[in-house]
Symmetry: C2
Subunit: 481 residues, 2 copies
């Protein structure tokens, strides 16, 4: 294969091309459509999702086109040569209307809307889902870790267990969620993330003894000495040897940064190691910990007051374990001005028709209270109530509440409408937003469900479309107030 | 960021570079080392792993070097400029000794050995782990699906839920495991995999009614008509409309390939749909099924004799759910001729020192019986028994059994020693090997553990090295027979 290059038009499912060819030959190619990206279930049994990946979608969209060799390849797949030739000049010329990257979002609401001709909007589906689903999954995991590690820092160590080249996006998302650095050098360069790392067991093992291994490392890296202390025996060998080296460094006017624990019971070992270090007058030497950490282990370590200064987090974060995937989907909402929807035997899977906006309503104390989905052509001032999407007898008055429009145009006709924020800025935004989310939505066990409602007009539009298919499908239209 | 290009030297963890700089400045850079790649736990509670990813490791190894811009970047990370300049001409010049891709392998045995100078062997660690861990995880999942879907085909549909760019490696591994095609066009081109796909709900929704949507698709794609029948109501609308179109196609001398079910109870719906199709004389129209499938659902559908002809498999396969990661590691085994190992408080995590070979022993009926790990300098004819790695009182006589050496040199001094096999050939190899694995290791529930032993010499070498650290660590050396 060629490695990824500037032509990403093949970063798609074949059926997008088959459909595009169908639109091309059936006279539909200039139809203007709206697709919504949304997800159905909060990952990790949690109460929210961190929306991430937008910056990558926007960056890669500009490369979503076809090289000569791609065109040649596509002609061999059975697609019609006239259609394939049409792709030679393909560029996404539509509009992306999106939540900000780093936003706290909830199931069922459109996080991003694509407007364009039916071919371009269809072809970018797979790449968009691939980038947003994965990065949102990982950013959410990372932020859950950040939430419980509080002021302590953690570093992304996951590349070796990440999914192939997906590791680069895992690191990006980890930093959005709160990782302060990464071991992944490729991502470090690509996304301007601080890189971090000192030594593995192999360094220690390559010497005849641990003390020489430590001493040599400290000599070569006096500014960056973090010694891994569990190659032989953590408390009997690793920590005592690290203390010797710290003292030798002191004699040269240098300061060891820390030690790293990578196995065993981290609460027990960190407490013992802290005592040994402190007894030697080395209270400035920090303790780093790694080894199969996740938000639950970090939370437990914090509760046990383990004297750990920073965490290295790998596998579980970069793979979004145990979910491993976010169930985000991309559904047609409108076609040439006509609202469209998908009916389903499962009521929860019925989609919301039409072009829509999402508003966030605040409670009196300034916290997030409800999200409301309205039709884009509705005046939000006139939406007095928002309704449960499937049980309209449940509703909330919102007309008196402060509200905020969440979707903004971010890409229009081949151009970004604004500069893409840095990862650090995205994380800052996430922090300010998460601070406005009531804590009951952030707990790990049976998180309180944040309610997302729909307007009366949207409810009734959907009802009308369902009735066209089968009059029994919607029997409770909402009456005017 | 730049997308991936021909310079992959940054596809690594920063600590590999920090250590490499340490080796460089401490006079160790020409030391010759051996590292082993192995894993510790079979994924999915299964009885084996399918070894995959080797072809990608070997292909990308040739690109593991640094561009001018990489060099410039590395100088800004705090690494020493002299060391960074040394990297400018870096090429992996060592040797890779490996199992064949597609081999059936087991926990604890070296699947691949790297021999080279300590810097090159260290720097490639992360990329090697990243590629092998993930692809082996997915190939194993795919083969479990193949195992229960038997003669039926299945297609990889997973790109939208795969981990960013890792989707390309997911598709490669899926085909090794048994997928006959992929929806992933990028992977299709890169790895010469047949691509497949027809239409999504959005196609149907973009028309005023389902029948027109079906008819239009059949007109544009008469050779590739597979109609998705669940947009409105599968049995009342989707299947009847598909039957109408199939009849219209017959009148034109065309044949519809099939229908696809993508929601609801697939066993129930496939049986009903089959009856409707057959009653209309359309017994040649196939039924395809997708929607959150995995090996357990496919097995259940087969047991229920659901008349499904082919499966589309996505999320669970390409993410290796629920594991999401394989725990493969890369450990130093020898340094300038001296065997090295890592001690651990967890006896299972103690590594095997020295350069080693793996032999597979066959039972009288020609099935796989035991794997044995011997020191590379041992004459396998003289290894009469192999021993449990931690309980030497358990051993097996192997000297009378047919045996096979599993590790072969595949890369030497910048060159492949043989052509890399196609994915189809790798899958064929896997099939022949899996046929030799007794069925009790292939079942899904409490799979029988395949035993991997070590030679007396290896056991005693490890014992000797452990005693050097602490005389109590190994007290039961194996006596000569």
């Amino acid at each position: 294969m060629q490695t990824l290059n500037d032509h990403l038009g093949l970063y798609t499912d074949f059926y997008e091309l088959t459909m595009a060819q169908g639109y091309y030959f059936s006279g539909k190619k200039d139809e203007q459509v709206t697709f919504d990206y949304f997800f159905r279930t909060n990952p990790y049994d949690g109460g929210y999702l961190v929306f991430a990946g937008l910056g990558e979608v926007l960056r890669l969209l500009k490369h979503f086109n076809y090289s000569d060799s791609d065109i040649e390849y596509l002609k061999k797949t059975g697609l019609h040569p006239d259609f394939v030739e049409y792709l030679r000049d393909f560029r996404f010329s539509g509009k992306i209307i999106s939540m900000k990257e780093g936003e706290i979002v909830f199931p069922g609401e459109p996080l991003l809307r694509v407007e364009g001709n039916i071919i371009e909007a269809q072809l970018i589906e797979t790449m968009l889902l691939n980038l947003l689903n994965f990065q949102s999954l990982v950013a959410t995991k990372a932020f859950r870790i950040k939430h419980v590690s509080k002021a302590k820092t953690f570093v992304d160590f996951g590349l070796r267990r990440a999914h192939g080249l997906g590791g680069i996006h895992a690191s990006r998302a980890a930093v959005i969620g709160g990782a302060s650095a990464t071991s992944n050098v490729f991502a470090g360069k690509a996304f301007d993330i601080p890189v971090s790392g000192t030594l593995a067991h192999s360094w220690i093992q390559s010497f005849d003894d641990e003390l020489t291994a430590f001493r040599t490392f400290a000599e070569v890296h006096p500014q960056n000495t973090v010694l891994l202390v569990d190659t032989y025996d953590t408390l009997k060998s690793g920590v005592p040897n690290a203390i010797k080296i710290a003292k030798e460094m002191e004699a040269k006017g240098q300061k060891m940064i820390g030690i790293r624990l990578d196995s065993g019971d981290l609460a027990y070992l960190s407490k013992r190691a802290r005592k040994q270090l402190d007894a030697a007058g080395l209270n400035y030497v920090q303790i780093f910990a790694s080894n199969q950490l996740n938000e639950h282990v970090v939370k437990s370590l914090e509760e046990q007051e383990a004297p750990i200064d920073a965490f290295g987090i790998g596998t579980e974060m970069v793979t979004g374990k145990p979910e491993a995937a976010l169930d985000g989907v991309y559904k047609l909402a409108e076609c040439d001005g006509t609202p469209r929807m998908k009916i389903s035997e499962n009521i929860e899977k019925v989609t919301l028709p039409g072009k829509k906006e999402v508003y966030r309503y605040y409670d009196e104390e300034g916290f997030f209270f409800r999200d409301g989905i309205l039709l884009a052509n509705e005046d939000p001032n006139e939406a007095e109530y928002i309704y449960h999407p499937h049980h309209p007898e449940k509703f909330t008055q919102v007309s008196h509440l402060k509200r905020e429009k969440l979707l903004q145009v971010v890409y229009d006709n081949g151009k970004l409408t604004d500069e893409t924020p840095s990862l650090a800025k995205i994380h800052e935004y996430l922090k300010t937003r998460a601070a406005l989310l009531p804590s009951e939505h952030k707990r790990f066990i049976k998180a309180h469900i944040y309610k997302v409602g729909i307007s009366k007009n949207l409810y009734n539009l959907r009802c009308e479309l369902m009735k066209k298919v089968d009059s029994k499908l919607c029997q409770t239209e909402i009456k005017p107030n």
